[in-house]
């Protein structure tokens, strides 16, 4: 009698359990899928914010930078389709990394140095939850802020380091201005600068030339990061300076990126005598004219020996150098925006764009 009453219990229990398990599975799939959609929307927001900040760093007006950010954001895909352009909004504002988390970006505040992008997909259809809910879709919204920062790594393409006291240091996001010409930079002991192989180990004039930008016939430089040790050297290196002089004249290459070290690493008895120093940042130097490269002994530098077809000041590719008491270069510190690399470095005129915290 009792058994007959229990008959069918498993079926009923299984039915109830099945509904519960199906609901749990449906929710699990829905959450996983919405999480993935949220990732795609976040990617579009990152691309939008960076797009606006990069365009601004390249000199675009604020309005154009915002349009550029919206263009890039709406190029990306989310939820199986291109992100609608009207779903991308970008707000300029002020970003200060020293403010507390949650308060770093002030929308609308001046000076405008950052962009906050908000990407919204208004109608992301549910796949399975509509079975247990009357709601058919949900909005998905993500935000990102892109702000200027100073790079902690980058490509150095000039085998020289300048020490920090001789350079002007700013703050992330601060307006950068090209600086006046420095006193002659003469890489010898007790000076503002040293030669360097941009790594550990020494180098000569010929290997120094290989570190120059490709336009100068070099390999384009090497990656340098804050904290890296670089070996310091001194010497006249007239042969290398002649290459630099010709590259400035014949190839119209004036800007070079150098690592920055602390002056205490190269001053006094330390000099540039083969010891190592630690990179603390990157700076871009400008050699305005071939005449800013000075050579002991002077003499004629025939640039056609390096760059065939170079015309030079007299049309024959030759530079007649006056005799300088010391070999060296006159440079000025210059601004270099959009240099790539990671943020978090000290600011000697280089600037990159990073995705910041709010």
């Amino acid at each position: 009698m009792r058994r007959r009453r229990e008959r069918g219990f498993v079926l009923v229990a299984a039915g109830i359990m099945l509904i519960a398990v199906v609901a749990v599975v449906a929710i699990a799939i829905e959450v996983a899928r919405l999480t993935h959609t949220a990732t795609e929307v976040q990617v579009a927001a990152d691309a939008s914010a960076l797009g606006a900040a990069v365009a601004s760093a390249h000199g675009a007006t604020e309005g154009s930078a915002i349009q550029a950010g919206r263009d890039v954001g709406s190029t990306n895909f989310a939820n199986g389709a291109k992100v609608p352009r009207e779903g991308v909004s970008i707000q300029p504002g002020n970003y200060d990394p020293t403010r507390a988390v949650g308060d770093k970006f002030h929308g609308g505040d001046t000076p405008h140095n950052a962009f906050k992008a908000t990407v919204t997909l208004t109608d992301v259809q549910y796949l399975t939850t509509m079975l247990i809910s009357s709601q058919a879709s949900t909005p998905v919204q993500k935000t990102a802020v892109a702000a200027p920062d100073c790079p902690s790594d980058g490509v150095a393409n000039f085998p020289m380091t300048i020490c920090d006291s001789y350079l002007t240091e700013g703050q992330p996001g601060q307006q950068c201005n090209d600086q006046p010409r420095l006193a002659q930079v003469t890489p010898t002991g007790g000076q503002a600068a040293c030669w360097t192989s941009l790594g550990t180990g020494s180098a000569s004039s010929s290997t120094f030339a290989a570190l120059l930008p490709q336009v100068c016939g070099g390999n384009g430089g090497v990656d340098v990061a804050v904290g890296n040790p670089i070996e310091l050297q001194n010497g006249a290196l007239n042969s290398f300076l002649q290459t630099v002089q010709c590259c400035v004249l014949c190839k119209d290459q004036h800007k070079f990126t150098v690592p920055v070290v602390q002056c205490s690493d190269i001053s006094g008895s330390n000099g540039c005598n083969g010891q190592a120093a630690t990179v603390i940042g990157l700076a871009t130097i400008n050699i305005a004219s071939y005449q800013d490269v000075l050579l002991t002994g002077g003499g004629t530098n025939n640039c056609r020996n390096i760059y065939s077809g170079c015309t030079g000041p007299m049309g024959d590719g030759k530079i007649n150098n006056v005799n300088s008491p010391m070999s060296g270069i006159y440079v000025n510190q210059t601004c270099n925006t959009g240099t790539g690399g990671h943020g978090g470095g000290r600011c000697f005129g280089e600037s990159t764009v990073i995705l910041g915290q709010f």
Partner: protein, 161 residues
């Protein structure tokens, strides 16, 4: 006993389905993240070809083991999926292009004014199912079946005006 057998089979199928979908979305998420990081790395790649209007060096745009961006993307994906996916890096001018073809950035001074200078990273291929008792899906090679993935992420090229 028969009912119990049916219930166990149905529950097992549902559980395996949930695990499979969860794994698939996790892999998709990882691939999207990796493509994003790759695109950002390539877009901010400092070194460009000499005398060009910001053309990425061949080492970055040519597929292979020596491509640093491709390797970074693969390293990021390896933690969840060690199979072979195609990773391509290329540049575009207006955001309508797709990898691997993209556009060839000209030599200076003929740079023009691209409407939307972007760098793209595309990750595509076949991801095998984790649990595939029914033998469904696309052939991934090696006797495995799975689902196809095709993710492209566009970032503004930081070295082109």
């Amino acid at each position: 006993m028969i009912e119990l057998g049916i219930v166990v089979v149905v529950f097992a199928m549902l559980t395996m389905g949930a695990v499979q979908f969860g794994h698939a979305f996790m892999v998709l998420n990882m691939i999207t993240h990796a493509a994003r990081d790759g695109a950002h790395t390539a877009a901010s790649w400092a070194e460009r070809e000499a005398n060009s209007c910001g053309r990425l060096p061949a080492a970055v745009t040519t597929a292979g083991a020596s491509n640093p961006v491709e390797q970074a993307v693969r390293t990021e994906i390896t933690t969840v999926y060690a199979g072979s996916l195609n990773v391509s890096v290329c540049q575009g001018n207006d955001g309508t292009e797709a990898c691997p073809s993209g556009v060839t950035v000209p030599d200076a001074p003929n740079c023009g004014s691209p409407a939307n200078p972007v760098v793209m990273v595309n990750v595509s291929g076949c991801v095998p199912y984790l649990l595939n008792v029914l033998g469904l899906g696309t052939s991934c090679g090696g006797g495995q079946r799975g689902f196809t993935v095709n993710r492209t992420v566009w970032f503004r090229d930081e070295k082109r005006a």
